[in-house]
Structure formats: structure tokens, C-alpha cells
Amino acid sequence: MRIAQQRWFTPWLFLLPGLAVVIGFSLFPFLNTVVLAFTDAKVLGGGHFTGADNFVRMVRDPAFWTAVGNSALYIVGVVPPLVVLPLLLALLVERKLPGITFFRTAFFTPVIASIVVVGLIWTWLLDTRGLVNDVLTALGVLKTPIPFLTDQWLLLVSAMLVTVWKGLGYYMVIYLAALGTVPKDLHEAAQVDGAGWWRRLFSVTLPALRPTMVLVAVLSSVSAFRVFSEVYLLAGQAGGPGGADTTLVMLIQQVGTGLTGDLGYSSALSVVLFVLTLGLLLATNRLNRQEDL
């Protein structure tokens, strides 16, 4: 007996709201983005087919290369710490010690806070008169405060620091779930053979966690490439000194919104963002599969 006692349209009534939202607000805008990328459409109207003009313009646009460079740099700066540090945190809170639930919960707090709250907190902390500079000066580490928020490179590094700080708890929980699946008898066998904590970490735990580490690397690099809020909030909407810290998503937002919005060009930038993100996913996926062989 099978559950199919219904009229033919019943399933579609269940699906209607969901399909409407997903098609109307995701797939259709996506197709429209691809179409607009080949036009000179503006927010106030117009729009003629211009072939690959937007893409030619992009290649010659220094702002595009700055933005792609910053977004790519973001991956380099953010992914390694986000693969390693949350794993160390997970190992730290894995053992059932008194009060460990409190620590796990507390470490997750930055994840739940809005990026705006996080951005404003760190703008205050990293100010030249802020707590970080204050403490470092009081400890005698610094003579003059570090201009975290006004120097082009320090600003980008600061934004990366905020991203890592906010992401620690999230990836920690993913690692915690994975640690629960590491076979216990392997650990016990290694212990019987006289392997110490470090030896077991490198010979048992880490090999078992390898797929999770790849997953964390994929998730964090895709989101790092799409970074917007951290830089926007620390650097201001202009994107730091002379726009030097603008990321790809910031550029899309700057170009495409407002009364002078250049829809065609910003759509072309969006298509590039999509292709690069998808490429990142496919490349890491492929890498992952090769490892399995």
C-alpha cells in the first residue's frame, strides 16, 4: 500500500508557496541578472543589448581588480585560521568537564550576534583610543597606538580578524559533531599501544576529521569570497582610504544601487561573483573526491 490517495493537484498546493518564493526571488532574479549583464540598463530605465561590453569594461576597470583582489586576499587571510582554530576549540571543549556546557554556549555568542553589532563593537575596540590599543600600550607593547581602522592594509586585516572571531563558534560546533563520530575503539587501541595525546591526535583524530576540515575550508572560503558587512562597517561605505578595501560584493552594491545605479555593469559583476563562487565549490569538491580515491 502506498500513500498516494489524493487528487493530482494536492502536492502542488503544498509546494505552491515554496516554489513561488524560490522561483520568484531566487531563480528568476538569477536569470534576469545574466540577461542584464549583456545590456546597458540603468536603474532609471533604458537597457539595450550591448554584447560583452560590460565584461570588456570590467577587465579594464582598476576598481574591479582591486575588489577581486581584496576578496581573494580575504580567503587567504581567513580560511587557514578558520580551519585550525575552531578545531582546537572543539578539542578544548570536547571533554565532559564540569561547566563545559557553559563554555560551549558562551563561545557561540559571537555567532548569534548581528554582524552590525559585531562591527560596531570592534570599531570601538580597534579605535586608536579603544581598548585594544589601550591594553597594548598599558602593557608596554606599544608606544604609539596602531591605526587599525585608517590604514589600508591594517583595515583589511582587522576585518579578517572580525570574520574569524565571529566564525570560531560556528565551525567549532561542526567540528564537535564530527569529533563525536571518531571511532572510540581506535583511540583505545592506540592508547593500549602506548600512544600519547599528541600521537593519537595526529594518527587517529586528524585523519578521521579530514573530510570535516575540507568542508570547513569550503564553507569558509565561499563565505570569505562574498564578504561585505565586515569591511563595510569597519571601513565605511566608501571602502577605506580611496576605496582601496572595497570587496567584490561592495562593488556590486556601490555600482548597482542608488539613483545612478548601473544595472548592466553591476549584473555583469554579479555573474562573475557567481561563476567564481561556483568554481570554488566545484574545485574543492573535486579535490575532496580525489582524496577519497
Partner: protein, 271 residues
């Protein structure tokens, strides 16, 4: 023994790094106008704690109306996701019909489209629906998340089918089976969807920033980011504003923390 002490020392160090910044912000928000917030060495505890900044931030910007807008958006998002994603998930998991694979593919395909790549086109959709600059426009794109649909689908797939088959024999139609049998059995996942929907819409920044232009419609996150520009000289007010934004979520988080952790775990399994 010393190992345990070392472990707790590390735990406390990480606690200072993760929670410390929030406490410093809380402290700043409670410091009076006469108190030096730039003192060296820094003063962790306010000398004369006062709630005055919370009243002052409300005088400066309509922060409670921003908060109300955020609440409306978040609640609408929770209701729409719990109902819409459950319905769609139920059809995909439990009903047999031609086109089921195609429908599943539509949801999966949308997972591959990064929001940032369609946000400008999405603004155009809202404009042609005459919805730009409304709270409805803030809610709609995330109203039924494809990831939530897949989560609900998996939850319904995991339920044993015997009870539902019995209900079919008793003459229950699909809607009755959905609301009376399937939904109550999957309520754990519904809670995960609810909690995450609330958090994501309460915290969202980029989309409201694009679609809202009238300050009367601002959500809390947008209102706060403008606060920074307006009161760059008074950190106490900004701090009070951020505390207003984060407090409801911390309460929700503490109440539902086990679901949070499960939700992250489940999300990760789906990749």
C-alpha cells in the same frame, strides 16, 4: 590535576576573547556622561552605572520603532518558514506525484545561487511589485528558505510511514495527515527552522540596506549602522543601541541553545 587547571585556564582565556568584547560594550553603555570612557588604564566597571544612555539613544533615533520593525520582520519570517517550508518539505518527502524530482531540483538549484549575486535583480523584482521600501520586501526573499525546505523534507523522510498509512485507511486527506501526524512528529526540526529563521532575519543587514530607504521603515541593524555615522563622538549611545539589538537574541539563544547546536550540526551535514 595540573592538566585540568591548564584546561580551565585556556577555557577562561577563550571566554575573555569571545565574550569580553560584549561585556566591554555593555560596560560602555552604562557609563555616565561625566565618566571618561577613554581612561587609561581602561575602566571595566562603570564608576557610576546609569541606564541613561538607553533613554538618550531613544531620544536621538526612534530605536524602539526600529526594533518593532525588526520584530515584525522576524516573526513574519518565522511563521512563513515554519509553515511554507514544512508544507513543501512534506510534499517532497511524503506525497507521490509526477514532477517530484523536478520540484526537488528547483529547491536544490536555488541553494547554489549566492544571494549577493542576485541582490540587485531582486531589488528590481521588488520595485516592479511596488514593494520596494516596505517591510514585506525585507521578508519575502527569505520567507521560505530552500535549505529549510530540505531540512523539513529530511525530517519527514525519517518518520515511519505506518501511522500515516493507517490514517489513509481511516480516510484522512493529505492536509489532515500533514497537520495532525507529520508536523507534530517533526516538531524538533520545526523548532530548529524557527530559531534560525528568527536569528537570520533579526541579524540581516545587506538586504534591508538595499531595499529600505525610508528611515521610518528601518530595521534595527540598518538604524544602528546609521547611528555610527550620526554619533561618532558618543560611544555610549552606540553601545546602548547595540545592546538593545543583541539582548533579545541572547535570551532566545539561552532558551533554545540545544536546538542551535543541533541546527548547526544538521546544516553542516547537508553542506
Amino acid at each position: 590535576m595540573s592538566r585540568i587547571v591548564g584546561r580551565y585556564a585556556l577555557l577562561l582565556l577563550v571566554l575573555v576573547i569571545t565574550v569580553g568584547p560584549f561585556l566591554w560594550q555593555l560596560s560602555t553603555s552604562l557609563k555616565g556622561v561625566t565618566e571618561d570612557i577613554y581612561s587609561t588604564p581602561p575602566q571595566l566597571f562603570p564608576l557610576h552605572p546609569t541606564p541613561g544612555n538607553y533613554a538618550r539613544v531613544a531620544d536621538a533615533v526612534p530605536i524602539w520603532s526600529f526594533a518593532l520593525n525588526s520584530l515584525i520582520v522576524a516573526v513574519a519570517n518565522v511563521v512563513a518558514n515554519c509553515l511554507g517550508a514544512s508544507m513543501a518539505g512534506y510534499a517532497l518527502a511524503r506525497l507521490r506525484f509526477r514532477g517530484r524530482t523536478a520540484a526537488t531540483t528547483v529547491f536544490l538549484a536555488s541553494l547554489l545561487v549566492p544571494f549577493e549575486a542576485i541582490m540587485v535583480a531582486l531589488f528590481l523584482v521588488m520595485r516592479s511589485l511596488h514593494l520596494s521600501n516596505t517591510l514585506a520586501a525585507v521578508v519575502l526573499p527569505g520567507a521560505i528558505g530552500a535549505l529549510n525546505v530540505m531540512l523539513m523534507r529530511n525530517a519527514f523522510l525519517a518518520l515511519p510511514s505506518a501511522v500515516e498509512e493507517a490514517a489513509v485507511i481511516d480516510g484522512a486527506n493529505a492536509w489532515q495527515r500533514f497537520t495532525r501526524i507529520a508536523l507534530p512528529s517533526a516538531r524538533g526540526t520545526v523548532v530548529v527552522v524557527a530559531v534560525f529563521s528568527f536569528m537570520f532575519s533579526w541579524d540581516d543587514f545587506l538586504w534591508p540596506l538595499i531595499v529600505l530607504s525610508d528611515p521610518a521603515r528601518y530595521t534595527l541593524t540598518i538604524g544602528l549602522s546609521y547611528l555610527q555615522g550620526t554619533f561618532v563622538n558618543d560611544q555610549r549611545l552606540i553601545a546602548a543601541g547595540t545592546m538593545i539589538a543583541v539582548a533579545p537574541l541572547v535570551l532566545l539563544f539561552v532558551a533554545a541553545q540545544k536546538y542551535f547546536f543541533r541546527g548547526v550540526g544538521e546544516g553542516a551535514v547537508k553542506g
